[in-house]
C-alpha cells in the first residue's frame, strides 16, 4: 500500500488531502505515480505538473525518478510559504 499526501493547494484534489493506492504504478517511480494521478484527475495532473512542485518519499525530498516501494509515504509539496 502507498500512502499519498497532498499539501497546500494540492490538498483540494483529495479528501483530507490524502489517498491510498494498493501498489506503486509501473514502473514504480515518483514520476509514474504523478502521471498515474494525472490520468485519473486532469485537474490534479495539471497542478502536479507545475515546475515548483516537489515530491517527498518517506518525508525526504527526492528526484522524480526515485523509486517508490510498497509501504512508502509519498507527499506532493507545492512551494512552501512559511514564516
Amino acid at each position: 500500500m502507498i500512502r499519498v499526501l497532498f499539501f497546500g493547494r494540492l490538498g483540494e484534489y483529495a479528501e483530507n488531502g490524502r489517498m491510498e493506492l494498493t501498489s506503486p504504478p509501473a514502473p514504480g517511480t515518483a514520476a509514474a505515480l504523478r502521471d498515474h494521478l494525472g490520468a485519473v484527475d486532469a485537474g490534479l495532473g495539471k497542478a502536479l505538473a507545475e515546475p515548483q512542485v516537489m515530491v517527498a518519499v518517506n518525508q525526504e525530498v527526492v528526484d522524480w525518478d526515485s523509486p517508490i516501494h510498497d509501504g512508502d509515504e509519498v507527499a506532493f509539496l507545492p512551494p512552501v510559504t512559511g514564516g
Binding site: 497546500g8 493547494r9 510559504t81
Partner: protein, 167 residues
Amino acid sequence: MIRIQPEDFDLAEEYQQLRQGGAGVGAIVTFTGLVRDFNNIAERQGASVETLFLEHYPGMTERLLEDIIREARDRWQLSGVTVIHRIGELKPGDQIVFVGTAAAHRAEAFAAAEFLMDYLKTRAAFWKRVRRGGRNEWLDMKDSDRMAASRWQREGKQPGRDGGGQQ
C-alpha cells in the same frame, strides 16, 4: 530547540532561555514574525479575508528544521538556537514565527538568525492559506524570499544542500 505549535509563545521566556548559555553569551538576537493585515498578505483585491491558516507536514517539518539548525550551528559558533513556528488559525497582529540565537559575538547571532528565517520561508514545510468569501486561497512564495534564501547557497551546490562554510 524546535517547537511547532498552535499556541502562542512568550518572547521574554524564550529570551531568558537563550540567556542561560553561560558567561560566554555576549549577543542575543530575536526575530519575531507577526501576521500582517490579511489583504496585504494576499496581495490582491477582492472579498475581505476572514482567516489565515497555516498547514504543515508533521514529521517532515521537524526534520527540515533540525537540518536547518544543524547547518546554522555548522556555519556559526552558537551557544543557543530556538525556532518556534505556529500552525493553525491566526489573525492579524498574531505572532507566527520566532527565531532566537545566542552567541559570543553579534555577527554570528545576527547571521544565524537571518539564515534561519530565510530558510524557514523557503524550505520548511509550511503552507499559508487565507479564507475569503467562503473559499480557501493558498498563498504563493514571494520572490523576495526566494532571493533572500539564495544568498546562503554556495556555487555548484543544490539549493538547501550546502553544508558548512561562512557566507
